[in-house]
Symmetry: none
Subunit: 230 residues, 4 copies
DNA sequence: GATGAATGAGATTTCATTCAT
DNA sequence: CATGAATGAAATCTCATTCAT
């Protein structure tokens, strides 16, 4: 009776989806295989049939999550003509991708907690990172050619800067809120911060960097939109 | 009989120390009360006698960790006369504090995973964040007075910028290494990055921020030390 | 489609072979249907199709094993003219048959553990024992006729004596080794023991048996080859 | 409510007793921890608290069994003055010890099935074997001095002979019964066999062993009691 | 304050077996 | 004949917590 779910691929998918949620919500140790099984309406054994162990399921969920993120980035991937605009859009997209994938953040944290133990088991994941870095390279190069960006910028550094600022805001929201007494979840805060990140990154890409000893005297013509009163 | 295990305060301390490690290493769910008891050479019941529950122990460990971090920051807290120098030192100290307290990072991540559920239970923690933000305010004000920093800078924004960049490098080390194929643990990488963070923060504090539409034409005099080839 | 896995009889054979090994190695409870299926490269359902259940498979494997042993004994079955020589050869062959069929020993032990529960289900097995006992009868009779063996010897007793001594050495090898601190697996030990068994059996067949009360004064002319220094 | 069983040593004992039975009856793989727990009226966890794992429990049960056997042998241990009588008594005791401890046989078989894997983990077991071998040495020596036994007899060989014949009769009872169509459980069969074993062992100890080539011509004065009509 | 013994609930994993195709 | 997918029941083991002393 009602034995047939017919499509094993679909079953696998459903399991993975639920597993992602569970692992993201509670971490590897907190996650319960029972719960995943129950929610995906699959008998517990099937999880083992498909994924061999809790760990196997976790790795599979991780891979799946990375794919989702990549797909989302690919969709959003804008290559606006103006490098400055493009960079701002990239920041916006990066932030948005992380924002709409809270699972991604939690799973990555989990990975790092385990010192990359799972990551190393999955060759596929490595490849998924590249697109973003490549997009940055692309934008930097165009900016350089057009004379708006400094030469010799390292795309990895820009990537790390940009993603640190986006990721941390979302990842450490609760401690930051308590530390600063602010509400980071509000639309206003979010908007302000994304602009700020854009400003910071562009400042870095356009300006020469300051030395330790000599004070800056640069004069800049445009005010940022709303940065100062964040 | 004649057990006389020194004074209770010391026992509490020992338990907390081991608990911090365990919770940091494995997260709340991964942590084992048994293990903490065994390692601290205290009978399991004592843990319950002192801390009432696993959760109580976690909160206590959290508080303890925050105190440690604060104490460390207080020690390091430099208030160099030159605001630019002071800011660079602040970055260095912040990075170093996090670096030498991997437990702190992991515990904070844990907190955020639990959506601040534990944090809210502890009034004491709130206070521990302030010093850093205050130090930033202090430096910003002096810089403004001396004319090297922009006016109307928000210390919270500077704090978030600075700590995002430091924290993320350490917290997400493993995924970053895989994503970028770099070794972030090396002394060279670390040095370069800390300099980079200083540069970024100072750029932000000194320069006006760029607009989206108009290209930058600023001319800046000094090259950064080693930033471009990170 | 177009699988055509040769003939069913061969498949059955392959399954049985692997099943024998698995059951012998791990016992009935320790044996895993999955493992047998995997190793014999047959889908698990085939096992059930052919043998109906794990128990059915076990009984079939048991029968198969007995057949193998019988075939082997039939091959070796020597009927040397000299009864004494014949008896020694019989011992050697019995030992060798058990030695080269460790599975047989383990399966028989398994059966005895289960109190012959499986054995009784298989009529065929009963017949397989006879040849050995018959061979013994044959040798005993010839020995009696030739005047070298005592009259009225019970072939069953000789069979039990002989097989106990051979079987136990192999079956309980590990406990014996530990109990005695000897290496029973060595070629030397083995040779000595087989000779010893031959001696014992021949002693019994040729000599009158000693009484409890009166000491023996028999004088025997020949020394055994290497028995005393085993 | 009824929490107190007070005496942990007694609890341990009870568990071990039940474990021995379970392991003996069903073998290691067939044994169920649940069943042992239930029967010994101890919560399942206690088994793990005391013995760490199923394997640990098995080893402990094994040791316990060996102790029992040794204690029993020690009790029975006769050192009759007449070596021949002593040897017969030893056979009787050995048989009886095994007979009244069917668990011992099954556990030893289990060990051998596992290739002594558990045995090697327990230093204590090694020692438990010695007494029997020593008793044999003692008897052999006295017999030699008194001139009734051959010199240079190896006590290990006598031990192996004697125990093979006793053990196998009991251990392989079911297959033997089917093979020979006899009822080995009857008191008569048992008595006959024990006498036979005594006869065999004494024959070996008193007589010179026969060579392969030359026929025996020994004349012996006493008839065995009931051996021929077994 | 301190401890060894005990426990209930539940975690992950295994396994013989069957169904639909 | 043959198979991949599925399952229910149960197995071993874990863990936070408490009781009696």
């Amino acid at each position: 009776m009602a034995r047939r779910s017919s499509d094993p691929a679909r079953v696998r998918e459903k399991i993975l989806k639920l597993a992602m949620e569970e692992f993201a919500r509670t971490g590897f140790d907190g996650a319960r295989v029972d719960r995943i099984a129950e929610r995906s309406k699959v008998s517990k054994n099937m999880l083992y049939y498909y994924f061999k162990s809790k760990e196997g399921l976790f790795v599979a969920a991780l891979e799946r999550m990375y794919e989702e993120v990549r797909d989302q980035q690919r969709e959003l991937s804008v290559r606006a003509h103006d490098p400055i605009l493009a960079m701002r859009q990239l920041v916006e997209h990066t932030f948005q991708a992380l924002e709409s994938n809270p699972n991604a953040i939690r799973l990555m944290n989990e990975e790092n907690k385990q010192r990359g133990r799972f990551l190393r088991k999955s060759k596929r994941i490595r490849d998924l990172y590249n697109p973003l870095v490549e997009t940055i390279s692309f934008i930097l190069e165009r900016g350089r050619v057009e004379g708006v960006f400094r030469p010799a910028l390292d795309s990895a550094v820009v990537y790390m800067t940009l993603s640190s600022l986006c990721y941390h805001y979302l990842s450490n929201r609760y401690t930051l809120e308590i530390a600063l007494g602010k509400d980071l979840a509000s639309a206003a805060s979010r908007k302000t911060w994304v602009e700020h990140v854009g400003n910071i990154v562009l400042l870095y890409c356009t300006a020469e960097v300051p030395s330790t000893t000599a004070p800056k005297t640069a004069v800049m013509r445009q005010r940022a939109t709303s940065d100062a009163d964040a």
